[in-house]
Symmetry: C2
Subunit: 336 residues, 2 copies
DNA sequence: CTGAAAGCGCTTACAG
DNA sequence: CTGAAAGCGCTTACAG
């Protein structure tokens, strides 16, 4: 056991085998040119002494840390945690470890302060659930580090994004609520300036407009930006009966608040979320929601990153082009 | 922008300021002995050139990587993702980044293969949601790296654990189900050899035994080890009416399966989960569950690790000694 | 096929 | 208060 206490380095393996540090390194990295005999000697010594490479040292010299930075708001939202789980496991299979960063709720953006901490780790790639602010986007591009925005459209920033068809998601929600017979609608977003939030909103409005319903501005809310109780009061006062929320978490919060006001989802009003986090957690499907196909979404994100790391930026898979969000019926909406 | 493309190193700052690399480093690390004038010159140059330290290089030399490895099964279970979120944010605040590892469902344990990959990153500390197998536990102790098992009792391994009072959690569930009037009980665990699973089971059995009810072995199930449909069939055939599940996820899965057999939770039978993941996600409380106080649990875990990193292993906070799990009533159990 | 040297970007002793 | 040198543990040229 004491052997483990002191760090075993290549030098120790070299000493033990009588080979040079260089040769040992070559064997361990499976670089061409060594005899079977040498290979076995090295492997035996490594096993015996319990050698474990120091990836920080190897990364420093080789320039590749085999680290990928993953940036998100929080892991509380199952959309983040579920996809992070899939993505990080895919990375791990390919020899990349994930180092996680959050903006800790400071803002909806990746700012310069955050990206500095990321870059200090010298990741081979960065996968961000959050959009960079304009200044930071330029900085990131300047570093040349492969960067993808996951779950959001990258084009406004001139960056690579892996995203779902969010407008279609909103449209599907609007279509459904209208066809159920609801007529007094509201949209509850997160932030007014986040593209994915606006895309869902626009799709929703579009579907309603096709039925001649104009969603007025005072029926559009941003839960992160305004007083919550006032918002709920207004929903009740206005007799809103068809609500589309930016995501399931928001929908659940609204359902709870309305319950306290004596309004029951699926009875007194209809509400649709987005993400289908219930399926992720194998929960009974209470909430009607829009499912984008999270697993494949995450797989595509991982794949795109791995492509970039391998240096083939041509022919990257696209998610939004091949997958359409679909409605999952729960008990929170009903045919009237 | 082109400036960013080439890596800016201490050497560049030294050249720009006319100081030595050493002095620049000292200023940036706020080591004693430099003039205000020098400090300002250095900071100005760093800002201008966009200097960002290379933590891999600094870690290699100093021996401290400011990295903490977090090991879990998956991030799908909100207990893992919620606490990981809190813990990693606390670490980040103190200048430690988290690098995540999973056993990818291979086993319920941290095995040697996994810990090798962890050690290769030279983390300053390791926080694991999973127990090590016996051989690996010895290896970990030998490394001398601060290690804590989070959410599990560490004593069987002679390691530090931060855990809740799981026996009490089970007892509370049993107490509740009995007092509701249910009389035909079952426990549904995950793995038969995981201590936290057994602790909850034992607490449950203990509470029932206090009322003269003996939970027979064929009423104890392990969802990860046996055929699911057979298990559900048996629950129905045996007329089980009071179920305690190791965690909420399992409870939800069981609720769904029984729903398909025409049995409704709260009406036809009572079911209690554990963890209160509904609260974490701000969902309406459908499931009756045992809440351990996840936030404080996570905070305590982070605190213990930070204490260890700071070198003061005396007076570590304990969670189980100061917090008791409590019942949260949902609609999945009712007074008969 | 193998080895001696240099260097990745830092920080740590040590000198002055 | 500042600097020149050594070294963390590796991998990358380069020589043989």
């Amino acid at each position: 056991m004491e052997e483990n206490k002191k760090k075993v380095t290549l030098k120790d393996i070299a000493a033990k085998t009588g080979l040079s540090v260089n040769t040992v390194s070559r064997v361990l990295n499976k670089k061409p040119y060594y005899t079977k005999e040498v290979e076995e000697k090295v492997n035996a010594a490594c096993r015996e002494l319990g050698y474990i490479v120091d990836m920080n040292a190897s990364g420093l010299r080789s320039g590749s840390t085999h680290t990928i930075a993953i940036i998100f708001d929080d892991l509380i939202n199952p959309f983040y945690s579920f996809t992070t789980d899939i993505i990080s496991k895919r990375f791990e299979e390919k020899g990349y470890n994930s180092i996680i960063f959050s903006n800790n709720g400071r803002s909806a953006y990746v700012d310069y302060e955050l990206i500095r901490r990321v870059i200090a780790r010298k990741p081979d790639g960065i996968l961000s659930f959050l959009e960079p602010d304009a200044e930071t986007a330029d900085f990131i591009k300047g570093t040349g580090i492969p960067f993808i925005i996951f779950g959001r459209d990258g084009s406004p920033y001139g960056m690579r994004g892996v995203n779902a068809d969010e407008v279609s998601a909103g449209r599907t929600a609007g279509e459904h609520l209208y066809s159920c017979g609801y007529r007094n609608f509201a949209y509850i977003g997160s932030w007014h300036d986040i593209k994915v939030c606006l895309d869902r909103q626009n799709g929703f409005c579009e579907a309603l407009a096709a039925h001649g319903v104009q969603l007025k501005e005072d029926k559009i809310f941003y839960i992160r930006e305004q007083d919550f109780d006032e918002m709920i009061d207004k929903l009740v006062a206005d007799g809103i009966d068809g609500i589309f929320c930016f995501n399931d978490i928001i929908a659940f919060i609204v359902v709870q608040a309305l319950e306290q006001r004596g309004k029951e989802a699926g009875i007194d009003y209809g509400i649709v979320g987005c993400d289908n986090i219930q399926r992720m957690m194998r929960m009974p499907g209470f909430l009607t929601t829009i499912d984008a196909g999270c697993e494949e979404f995450a797989e595509t994100g991982a794949e795109v990153m791995l492509h970039l790391l391998a240096g083939d930026a041509e022919e990257l898979p696209s998610f939004s082009a091949t997958h359409s969000p679909f409605l999952v019926q729960g008990r929170s909406t009903k045919q009237r």
